[in-house]
Amino acid sequence: MNSGASSSDTMAARSTLTSALVAVGAGDREALRQVYDLTSAKLFGICLRICRDREAAEDVLQDVYLKVWRRAGRFDETKASPITWLASIARNTAIDAIRKQGRAREISDDALAELEDDAPRADALAEQNEEAARIHDCLATLEERQRSSIHDAFCNGLTYSELAEQRNVPLGTMKSWIRRGLIILKGCLSDG
């Protein structure tokens, strides 16, 4: 899949962010500011999607950058791209927060529609690389109900019971869909 952004744009963005993280790992607070400026909108979007509450998402976002401050020295660019590493921290922090504190269920239909518009965006395409594209390609091989359940689980941070309730299917059925989907994904992602 070829997007409008050139691969050199992607490499430059990745290299800038990696350098900034290395500097954060050495204690450079200005570098953390740079990481924040480059990534806060993306990470806030992830937190907002999972927390569904602005105030909770703001608290989580602060925690995320404090974790980045502490852990940047451990970032290994041979294992993951910097934005992937950051997005994982954001998502995990948001999920931990909602598991502990519960999450606001009240959200307006308009806000929900805005949050769940999942068309690939220009900023996203600029960062996409071959490695990230594999999950999209592999998900596309699943049955629609498996694909969309796994997609919702990841992007919305839903549990099995929340997913089953949302789609009005028995819990066992939802588990079965997703487990089969994971087996197929494992095979697909492990190829080549």
């Binding site: 979007g45 020295g73 294992k79 590493w85 594209a133 549990t159």
Partner: protein, 255 residues
């Protein structure tokens, strides 16, 4: 297609955990495994890295304009010496943080220095003398080193298990919760070699602490077991599994 899927197939279980689908006891079980089983932790990492590609599809939303200032204020309160943590530098492992097996090499140095310390020192005033009878039960000691998730690198925690009285003694200095865990309390964990972490309950954030051990606890607190501390919710202790990053860890050694 009617293939059966074993619920506890570890690859699938790791995927369920990475997706955040699990809750309650299942989630605690997966969390414990991620802590103590490097291949399971690796599988969770693998899923996380692949799924993270889906974040491309989530809309960016500008953060509030005053949020950076709030982060900066919290950074000002964090005293953190950024000297290269060569002994403890390890890769992020799983949602909870550290793999304890990855700490093993770095702990050896801390243990060796603690053994030397105990052999050479005279008893300080604030510790009761222990009668040095020839048939005395062995002591177990651990020096819990600060991990990169610790707020202060000068954090010092030492533990001593007295087999004669079945007592656990701790000495805690300079341990502070990170801003995001300010409402939590320190919880002590024992991880038997090759086993799962078990809670030893909440401990104070500073000073001395002492209590009797149960028979079950005594069985786990043996040479080669690891002690670790995380900051957990104040309610619901002892918890089923750690859910926050390890701030201190050390291996028990018989002296």
């Amino acid at each position: 297609m009617a293939e059966t899927v074993r619920p506890k197939d570890p690859e699938v279980f790791a995927g369920e955990y990475a997706l955040g689908l699990l809750e309650g006891e299942e989630r605690a079980d997966a969390s414990r495994r991620a802590f103590s089983d490097p291949s399971f932790a690796g599988a969770v990492d693998w899923w996380q890295l692949h799924f993270a590609g889906l974040c491309d599809l989530i809309a960016s939303v500008p953060a509030p304009t005053d949020l950076w200032q709030a982060i900066e204020r919290k950074l000002d309160r964090v005293e953190f010496d950024r000297g290269e943590p060569t002994m403890l530098a390890q890769r992020l492992r799983g949602p909870s943080g550290w793999s304890l097996t990855a700490l093993a090499a770095s702990l050896a140095l801390a243990v060796a220095s603690l053994v030397l310390y105990n052999q050479s020192r005279t008893a300080p005033d604030d510790e009761p003398q222990i009668a040095q009878a020839p048939n005395m039960q062995p002591q177990l000691v651990a020096a819990l080193a600060a991990t990169p998730d610790a707020t202060r690198p000068d954090q010092t925690i030492t533990a001593r298990i007295d087999r004669a009285t079945d007592t656990l003694r701790l000495r805690i200095d300079a341990m502070e919760a990170g801003e995001e865990f300010a409402a939590n309390a320190p919880e002590l964990w024992v991880v038997p070699a090759g086993g799962q972490p078990r809670s030893l309950g909440l401990i104070p954030a500073g000073g001395g602490f002492e209590r009797r051990l149960t028979a079950a606890e005594r069985a786990m607190l043996i040479g080669g077991s690891t002690l670790a501390i995380t900051f957990e919710s104040k309610t619901g202790a002892p918890h089923a599994a750690p859910t926050t990053p390890i701030v201190a860890a050390g291996q028990l050694v018989e002296i």
